[in-house]
């Protein structure tokens, strides 16, 4: 494998690139926010908006300047930290992580528009928010396993205050179990990393080094077999793999909407990403043995959790379980462990993140104007809230897998990969979930928006009225539609990197 | 006849008695007394081994320890008096303000 930018350039100088900025900006913003006086709400919010806007611009810049023809990592940042073990802040993006970075930037910016209801301890909230984004960005871009874990912990850390302080309802419980499971997953990952370090005899935990090392001296399969399950379980918990699918929805139900957007849009993706990058990338042989198990669990996600979603009466829980169910599609794609499956999974992850952020943003906007928490609390809202109804319907259609949105292209790809790799029954199982999704999403739309007006609570005026309300919604929907119409664009990024990631799988 | 092991057993018994007392008794003075007993047990062990190995180091250590023990008793008694003055009791079970 060749790295277009050497990890250390010839003169052993430190390398800094845009990837560093992507991590530094939220960190810096957090620092500055902590220095601001607690009551200057406007300044705090302005700082946050500025930081996120910069992130978005940088992420888009990365997308445009990324060279799709090269395999390997680009825009590498390398700041050495220790020598033995060799740990350095090694950040870089390839086709796989680039779109996750973009997702983080988009959702990170859009979620700012759901923070209107935060009125107290504002400083702490935005501090946590910036820390979360910093952690997410760092995790996606980290090529050094130590810092991978480090950034992940940073962000898992702030999930507790975000839910327990600014949440609602039974928030202590929700926060506790949400954080515990996040950290539990990462605990398994940590053990895996340590096992990798000690058992493989390598002196570094850096992915490029490890990959090139494994090419010459592959990791013994017994060692792989001992280490991979740790990552499988760890990342599986993070990715809402059954039976760890419920902690997410419960958290989203009580969290402040902005946090729900961030959690469902970004955090879940981390689990799947870790599975691809670390699990499949570093331990191909062992992974291959585990993929049928992954498929089975993913199918349970798709079908069983789909039924659970069908029985939900709380709108937020419905969206949360829908999210867990959709992850099944991505995980099934990963289970195929070939370029087709992984590319499909990545597109689904991208689309899923945008979709969940969109749904929770809409929920926030509607709840602000008096929406109840039940699916059947209101009725006929399309008459009074036409614009919001349109956006929500679009989001529902995207989740249904209607062509024109990225979800369709991703699901289609995964279906083909499933049929190719595991046969017709796997594909049929996945298709059942498509049916289920249609059932509960259409029912939700129908109950909330269609039919005659049902006034069980006083509802205010149209939530989406001013231009700035439209902006995040348009961005999210636009990204979904754009990648839905032209899926070849994201796919072209995934293809090269996925095949490079999987070369080890193919050759042996 | 009376070999070194006898001394050690005696010292062990003394230590155990002292420990038991330190942990169980409620009167502060008696706790200090029990600690003294533990000290004495340790001194006995030191001297025993000094004699076993014909090395004066043990006896030197015992002398040091005795001096330290004396100082410790002085400090301990002073603390006991202060405690009595502020709490009007020297019952150890009454001193639980470290509790949650």
């Amino acid at each position: 494998m060749n790295l277009p930018n050497a990890v250390l350039d010839d003169k052993n100088n430190i390398m800094l690139d845009i990837t560093f900025l992507l991590v530094a900006i939220p960190a810096l913003a957090a620092l500055l926010i902590s220095l601001l006086p607690s009551h200057s709400y406007r300044a705090i919010r302005a700082m946050a908006h500025l930081a996120m806007a910069l992130e978005l611009v940088l992420a888009l810049f990365l997308i445009f300047s990324f060279d799709r023809t090269l395999a390997g990592f680009q825009f590498v940042t390398d700041l050495a930290w220790t020598v033995k073990p060799k740990i350095s802040l090694l950040l870089g993006v390839d086709g796989i992580s680039l779109w996750m970075v973009l997702l983080t930037a988009i959702v990170g910016w859009a979620a700012l528009f759901a923070t209107g209801n935060i009125q107290e301890k504002v400083k702490g909230f935005f501090l946590s928010y910036m820390t979360l984004v910093c952690g997410a960005m760092g995790t996606f871009m980290s090529l050094d396993l130590f810092f991978f874990f480090f950034f992940y912990e940073i962000e898992a850390l702030v999930t507790y205050p975000l839910i327990s302080i600014w949440g609602r309802g039974d928030r202590k419980y929700a926060a506790m179990q949400f954080t515990i499971f996040s950290v539990l997953g990462s605990a398994f990952v940590l053990i895996g990393i340590l096992a990798l370090y000690f058992l493989s005899g390598n002196t570094s935990l850096q992915i490029p080094q490890l990959l090139s090392g494994f090419e010459t001296v592959p990791l013994a399969i017994e060692i792989q077999r001992r280490i991979f399950p740790l990552f499988f379980v760890g990342f599986g918990i993070l990715a809402a793999l059954w039976p760890f699918h419920a902690w997410g929805p419960i958290g989203y139900a009580e969290a402040p909407p902005a946090a729900s957007m961030l959690f469902s849009g970004i955090l879940k993706t981390l689990g799947a990403y870790g599975l691809i990058r670390v699990g499949l990338g570093l331990f191909p042989e062992a992974a291959r043995a585990w993929m049928p198990a992954l498929l089975a669990l993913a199918l349970v996600n798709l079908i069983y959790v789909g039924f659970v979603a069908l029985a939900q009466k709380n709108l937020r829980l419905l969206i949360g379980y829908a999210s867990a169910s959709h992850m099944g599609f991505a995980l099934a794609g990963i289970a195929c462990a070939d370029v087709l499956g992984i590319s499909g999974a990545l597109l689904i992850l991208f689309a899923h993140g945008l979709l969940m952020a969109l749904l929770f943003l809409l929920v926030y906007l509607m709840e602000e104007k008096g929406l109840g928490s039940g699916v059947s609390d209101q009725g006929g809202l399309a008459a009074t809230w036409p614009v919001t109804a349109t956006y929500f319907s679009l989001a529902a259609l995207a989740s249904l897998g209607i062509p024109g949105f990225a979800n369709f292209a991703g699901e289609l790809t995964v279906l083909f990969a499933l049929f190719n790799h595991f046969g017709p029954w796997a594909a049929a199982g996945a298709l059942v979930s498509v049916l289920l999704t249609a059932l509960y999403m259409l029912r939700a739309v129908r109950n909330l928006f269609f039919g005659p007006e049902k006034e069980l609570r006083h509802t205010g005026e149209e939530p989406v009225r001013h231009f700035w309300r439209h902006a995040p919604l348009v961005l999210l929907i636009g990204a979904l539609i754009f990648s839905g119409f032209f899926p070849n664009l994201p796919m072209s990024y995934f293809k090269t990197s996925a095949s490079q990631n999987m070369t080890t799988l193919y050759d042996r | 006849m009376i070999s070194e092991s006898h001394y050690l057993v005696l010292a062990f018994l003394l230590f155990a008695i002292g420990l038991f007392g330190a942990l169980t008794r409620r009167n502060l003075i008696l706790i200090l007394l029990s600690i003294e007993i533990m000290f004495n047990a340790i001194h006995l062990i030191f001297v025993t081994f000094s004699r076993t190995w014909n090395n004066l180091d043990g006896q030197v250590a015992a002398l040091f320890s005795m001096a330290v023990a004396a100082a410790e008793v002085a400090v301990g008694l002073a603390i006991a008096i202060l405690l009595f003055r502020s709490r009007k009791t020297i019952d150890a079970s009454q001193f639980n303000s470290l509790k949650d």
């Binding site: 049916l435 | 169980t24 639980n96 470290l98």
Partner: protein
């Protein structure tokens, strides 16, 4: 000439209306009509060049999804089949668009209506000109979406919202099978060539590969049966074949132009069209064709019987559509796709005509129940004449177009076996009967006072008249020859015994219905009493709807609840509480050891030291 505009024109119309011209009603209508009109013009140009020179442009395609193993494109395939179908869709579509400007003029959602219509147009044309199975599936879904939006157009009405959901879900169930069928075909297409890389979903290539695979034996015959059956699931969903027909009558909740366009002429025809497209697969399995023909005939008879007991104009027409689609499907099953397509085209004309005529009636009288209507012939002569012509065409009376297309089907039926023939003729009889009933009840007899009912405005009657022309004339356009040249078959309609029998059957049906309904209009449905329990069976639509409702309420929902309870118990209370509350409780337990008593603390330390010593002793093997 960039033929992509066939798709792009209505798409741009959709986008423009949706984003920009919501407030400008006339502009929206103009955009929609213009968009589809451009498509029609382009297709017409292609058709004319086909007639004159016989030359057609090569298919064009743009790569939509390109990955190792799957190469899907979106493009346009020009052949006789697609051009004729395209003419139907865009031509009838444009007429219905024009009609809608009059029909929907009082509706506040006017612009939205035309946006949805344009969306539908793109989607339908995408199916018609599709070059490969995935493109078909993609636009198939979009057509389902447009149908959902249009059925539920008046979303404030509960029935409309429910009908839209029902239509979409039923379609989805069919699409389940369709997708699996496509996957299977894709998978085996590589087998024929011996390599996974050769897998394709393109019609042109599959038409070559699959028969070769069958002939050489590299693909087993049962594969074709299964694949075809799965594809037929999708067909059944879209074309309202039993048992996925339940959505069609409810779909009448949508505005009448929607019923005319989507649920009569075009969208429901997409299933039959797909079968024609992929006929090279179907013909490779004899059992499959038998199943298809049987389902078709069953649907035809079922639809016709259900139409007997209906008293809502639109629902009668809906069941009639279902029935006629059944005949088309049967024709496919009898291995005569040309007849099926022929009937599809003529049916498109006269069914759209009938619906638009019904639309005129509804627009004028604000009523849909035939027992509340009557004597409209005097008030709305143009509509009545046109409706009558449509009825004759549907019944299959010479010299209308329906006669010719039905004759082809009946001919094919007779040639296969008398069973099919009798069944088809029975359908013909019922069709004539209920359509006659419809016409006599609505247009003859005394007027049930409707106030000032008058003829519809020109913008509505003009399309109706154009369609009646085609209902009469389409039989003379030599459509089977046009189609047949593609599949290499030629057949000429001849005035043989079939023609006589069917005409006789039709006339008997018409007279019978006249006798029951025309002479003296009954106040309520006489058949219900006369047929007794059988009548009730019909009236309750054979309890199929009830079966579905039962399934949803008593099986599906409780199962979902069960899953939810299981989830609650094991996952939430188990894992979740373990993490959430469990830790809190563990913490509380731990707190008990903090007595505040120093002696306790020291005791603990002593015990720990002893334990460590013991372990060390054992470890170092001192004890």
């Amino acid at each position: 000439m960039n033929y992509y505009f066939i798709l792009l024109a209505p798409f741009l119309a959709f986008v423009t209306i949706a984003l920009f011209t919501r407030r400008f009603r006339s502009l929206s209508a103009l955009m929609a009509i213009g968009g589809l009109g451009i498509s029609f013009a382009l297709i017409l140009k292609l058709f004319l060049s086909l007639l004159t020179t016989g030359a057609l442009p090569e298919p064009v395609e743009f790569s939509w999804l390109d990955l190792p193993g799957i190469h899907f494109g979106i493009g346009l395939l020009f052949d006789r089949l697609s051009i004729l179908m395209g003419l139907l869709v865009s031509g009838v579509g444009t007429l219905i668009f024009i009609f809608s400007t009059g029909y929907m003029e009082d509706d506040p959602g006017y612009s939205r209506f035309f946006a949805y219509l344009s969306l539908f147009a793109v989607a339908m044309l995408g199916i018609v000109f599709s070059t490969n199975l995935i493109q078909t599936f993609l636009f198939w879904e979009l057509v389902g979406l447009a149908s959902y939006l249009l059925i539920g157009f008046w979303f404030e009405k509960n029935q409309a919202a429910d009908a839209a959901k029902k239509a979409f879900m039923t379609n989805r169930v069919g699409d389940f099978g369709l997708m699996l069928g496509i996957l299977l075909i894709w998978f085996v297409s590589g087998q024929a060539l011996g390599s996974a890389e050769g897998r394709t979903v393109e019609f042109a290539q599959l038409a070559r590969i699959l028969p070769e695979g069958f002939a050489s034996g590299t693909i087993s015959g049962s594969v074709f049966f299964i694949a075809g059956l799965l594809i037929f699931c999708g067909v059944a969903g879209k074309s309202a074949q039993f048992p996925l027909h339940v959505w069609l009558p409810d779909a009448m909740e949508g505005p009448t132009p929607v019923s005319a366009l989507i649920h009569a002429a075009t969208m429901v025809a997409a299933g039959v069209y797909l079968m024609a497209r992929i006929f090279f697969l179907f013909i490779l399995s004899g059992e499959l064709l038998q199943v298809v023909a049987a389902m078709g005939l069953l649907t035809a008879l079922l639809g016709a019987s259900l139409a007997l007991m209906e008293s809502d104009i639109k629902r009668v027409l809906a069941y009639s559509t279902m029935s006629q689609l059944g005949l088309m499907v049967m024709a496919m099953g009898l291995a005569y796709p040309v007849a099926g397509m022929y009937h599809l085209l003529t049916h498109g004309f006269f069914k759209a005509l009938l619906f638009l005529g019904a639309g005129c009636v509804i627009h004028a009288t604000h009523r849909q129940n035939i027992f509340e209507l009557g004597g409209l012939f005097k008030r709305m002569p143009v509509t009545s004449m046109a409706f009558l012509m449509g009825m004759f065409a549907l019944a299959g009376l010479f010299p209308f177009s329906g006669f010719f297309s039905k004759e082809e089907i009946l001919q094919a039926a007779l040639e296969t076996s008398r069973f099919w023939f009798v069944g088809a003729e029975a359908t013909t009889f019922l069709t004539a009967f209920y359509m006659g009933k419809l016409v006599w009840m609505v247009f003859l007899g005394h007027e049930k006072n409707h106030g000032e009912t008058h003829e519809a405005p020109l913008v509505m009657t003009l399309p109706v008249m154009v369609l009646s022309f085609f209902s009469l004339a389409a039989g003379y356009f030599q459509i089977p020859e046009l189609l047949g040249q593609a599949s290499g078959e030629t057949r000429t309609a001849h005035f043989g015994p079939v023609a006589f029998i069917s005409t006789a059957v039709v006339l008997v049906g018409l007279f019978a219905s006249f006798f029951l309904y025309g002479l003296k209009k009954p106040a309520y449905e006489p058949l219900e009493k006369r047929l007794g329990p059988l009548g009730r069976l019909f009236a309750r639509k054979f309890f199929i709807d009830d079966l579905y409702n039962f399934y949803v309420a008593k099986i599906q929902q409780p199962f979902a609840e069960l899953c939810d309870r299981a989830n609650e118990l094991f996952v939430i209370k188990g894992l979740g509480h373990l993490a959430g509350r469990g830790l809190y409780q563990l913490g509380s337990l731990m707190k008990k050891s903090l007595t505040g008593n120093v002696q306790t603390y020291i005791s603990v330390v002593v015990v720990q030291i002893l334990i460590i010593l013991a372990v060390a002793a054992i470890f170092l093997q001192l004890v």
